[in-house]
Symmetry: C2
Subunit: 338 residues, 2 copies
C-alpha cells in the first residue's frame, strides 16, 4: 500500500507531520509512505529521525496552501501545492490514499475541483469527524463541507457514513441516525423532517432522530446532519470540554489541599484524556470524492498524524470508494426497489 502524507499540512508543519510519518513507517513496514511537499524542508526534517530501513519516499511539491489562504483562491492559483500533487498521485493510481492536516477548505476545493473529483452520482462530498467517545467511536457527517443541504444530500451522507462505519470501524449493520432537536419522528427542522422520510425508505439501519446526548452516549454509530449544524455540534463539544478542563484545573490549583488532591488524582485525569483523545483517531475522511482522503486537525501532533495514516490504511483495506460507488448504485434507494 502507498499512502501520501502532506508534509506541509499541520499548523506546525513539517515537525509533527514528518514525525508521524516516521512512526507510521515503523509500525507498518510493508507499506510505503510518500512525503509530499518542499523537498529541502522535508529532507532537513527527516535527518532528525532514524529512518533506516523505513519505506519513506519524497515527492516534491514547490507550493504550500497555508492555513490562512482563502481556499478557492489557493486551490486555483497554487497548482503545484502539496495538496494538488498529493491528491494527484491518488487520482492517477500512483498512491492509494492521501492524508493531510492542512487547510480543510483547501483540501475540499483541490479534491473536488482539481484532482479527484466526485464519485459519479454523489451530489456533495461530506467531511467526517470520527468522535472519540468513552462509549466508542461515532461517525459524524457532514461537519463542515456543506452549510446548506437538501434532504437528498443527507440521504447520501447517511449511506456514505454507514459504508465507512462498516469498512473502517468494523460496525456490522451500523446504526444511522439524524441529528435533531428531539427524538420523536416529527421533530426537527424542515430539512430533517424531509430527510427522515427519505431515510425511512432507504436500505439502511436507520434508527430515527437523535439528540446530542444520544450521540455522546453511543446510541448510534453514524450521526447525519447538514454541515452547519454538524460543525456547531463538533465545536461546542470541543469548546465545552476545554472550558471544563480549564475550570477544573483553575479551581484545583487555587488551594494547596485541593492541589495535592489533584496530584494524587492525576493518573485518573490522564486516563480520561486518553479515553477521549482525538490524536488516537487522527482525522476524518472526506467522503464522496473519487479517492481516499483523510483530513486531520491543524493542531495534530505526531500521534494524530500516525493515527490518520492508520485510518487511511483501513479505508484502503475496506475499499471504501468502491463500497460507496456500489452503495449509491444499489443501497440507500427505496427498499421496494432494492
Amino acid at each position: 500500500m502507498r499512502i501520501v502524507l502532506d508534509a506541509m499540512g499541520s499548523d506546525q508543519y513539517p515537525v509533527p507531520d514528518i514525525a508521524g510519518a516516521v512512526m507510521a513507517a515503523r509500525q507498518w513496514p510493508d507499506d510505503e509512505i510518500i512525503l509530499v511537499g518542499r523537498e529541502d524542508i522535508i529532507r532537513t526534517e527527516l535527518q532528525k529521525h532514524d529512518t533506516q530501513g523505513l519505506q519513506l519516499e519524497i515527492v516534491p511539491a514547490t507550493e504550500v496552501i497555508e492555513m490562512d489562504d482563502p481556499p478557492a483562491w489557493a486551490a486555483k492559483e497554487k497548482r503545484r501545492s502539496s495538496m494538488h500533487v498529493g491528491m494527484g498521485l491518488v487520482h492517477t493510481g500512483d498512491a492509494d490514499a492521501y492524508v493531510t492536516a492542512g487547510n480543510t477548505g483547501g483540501v475540499l476545493a483541490v479534491a473536488t475541483l482539481y484532482t479527484l473529483r466526485r464519485i459519479p452520482g454523489v451530489k456533495r462530498p461530506a467531511l467526517v469527524a470520527i468522535l472519540p467517545l468513552p462509549v466508542g467511536r461515532v461517525v459524524a457527517l457532514d461537519i463542515g463541507a456543506n452549510a446548506d443541504c437538501r434532504p437528498e444530500y443527507l440521504r447520501q451522507f447517511a449511506l456514505m457514513g454507514s459504508v465507512y462505519a462498516q469498512a473502517v470501524l468494523g460496525c456490522d449493520q451500523p446504526r444511522v441516525a439524524l441529528l435533531s432537536n428531539g427524538e420523536e419522528p416529527g421533530k426537527g427542522n424542515t430539512l430533517v423532517k424531509e430527510a427522515y422520510s427519505l431515510l425511512s425508505k432507504a436500505s439502511l439501519n436507520f434508527i430515527g432522530n437523535v439528540e446530542p446526548k444520544e450521540v455522546l452516549t453511543g446510541k448510534t454509530d453514524v450521526m447525519v446532519s447538514d454541515g452547519f449544524t454538524g460543525n456547531v455540534l463538533i465545536k461546542t463539544l470541543e469548546a465545552t470540554a476545554k472550558m471544563l478542563t480549564t475550570l477544573i484545573r483553575q479551581e484545583i490549583t487555587a488551594n494547596p489541599i485541593t492541589a495535592i488532591g489533584g496530584l494524587l488524582a492525576k493518573p485518573a485525569f490522564n486516563r480520561v484524556a486518553q479515553r477521549i483523545n482525538p490524536s488516537e483517531v487522527g482525522g476524518g475522511p472526506l467522503l464522496g470524492v473519487n479517492g481516499i482522503v483523510i483530513v486531520g486537525h491543524g493542531r495534530s501532533d505526531a500521534l494524530a498524524i500516525k493515527s490518520a495514516i492508520g485510518q487511511a490504511r483501513k479505508a484502503v483495506q475496506g475499499n471504501v470508494v468502491a463500497a460507496i460507488r456500489d452503495g449509491l448504485a444499489h443501497k440507500g434507494k427505496a427498499k421496494e426497489k432494492s
Copy 2:
C-alpha cells in the same frame, strides 16, 4: 409585585416548585407569590413548610399539562390548566409575571395561541437560555421555539435578546453576535449570511459571527441562532459536561489513590459546579409574547425555581415587554432611519 408560579410545573411537581416559592417569598417579602394549580395538592405540600408571614396565595387550576402531553393538543384541550390560568392572570393584569418549569411546547402554545399572544410586530417569539458560564452569563436565543427561521426573525431575536441582556443582566450596550461555523463575515449558511446583512444595518451593538468557543469564552453577551441550531448547541453543551463529569468520576473512583485525591479535591469540584450551576439562573424567558414568562428546566430543584422567580422580578423591574415593544418601533431598523 405579583408573580405567578406554576405549582404543577417541574418533573417532580409540586415538591421543588412549592419549596422554591417558599424560598422566594422569604427572600422578597414585599412581593406576592401566587401558586397556581390543583388546590388540594398545593395545600398539602405547603403544610410541610413554615409559611407564616409569607405572601403566598393560591389560585386554583383543575387541569395539568403534563410533560409528555402533546403541546398543541394539551393547549387546546386543557383550558383549565395551571398554564392557562397562570398566564391568564398576567394577561388580565392581575399578575406581573408567570414562572413555570413545565412542558416547554405547552408554554409556547398556551402563551402564543390562548393567553398572552405576541407583542404587536413580533414575527415569532423566541425561547432564551441564560448560559451560566465561568466568564459570566450569555443570553442565547432561539433555543427551541422555531426550528425553521427567516433572516427577519433572527433580526428580531437579536433585538429582543439585547433588550433582555440590558434590562435583566445589566449589560450596557450588549454585544450581539450570530452563531456561525466561522467568525469571518462570509461564513455561515444562507440564513446566517442574510441575517448578518440585516444585523449590520440594525441599531444594535452587532459584533459579527461567533463560533461556539467564542460564546463559551464570553466574547458576546447575546448569541442569536435559529431554534434548531440553538437547541443543538445547548444540548451538546449539557451532554458534553455530563459525559466528562461522569467519566472523571468513574476514573477517579476506579483506584484507591486517585479516589483519595478526588476526596481532597472535592471542594474544587464543588466550586466548579457552583460556577456553572444552572440552578443559579433558574430559567430563561419566552421573549416576544405580551407578558413576562420564565421557563425553567423540567429537572429544576427548589433553588432553580427560586432563581427563576428572581429572574421574573428583574424582568418586571426592567420593563422588558415595554422595552421590546419600543425597540421594535424604534431600534433594530436600518440605522439611517433611526
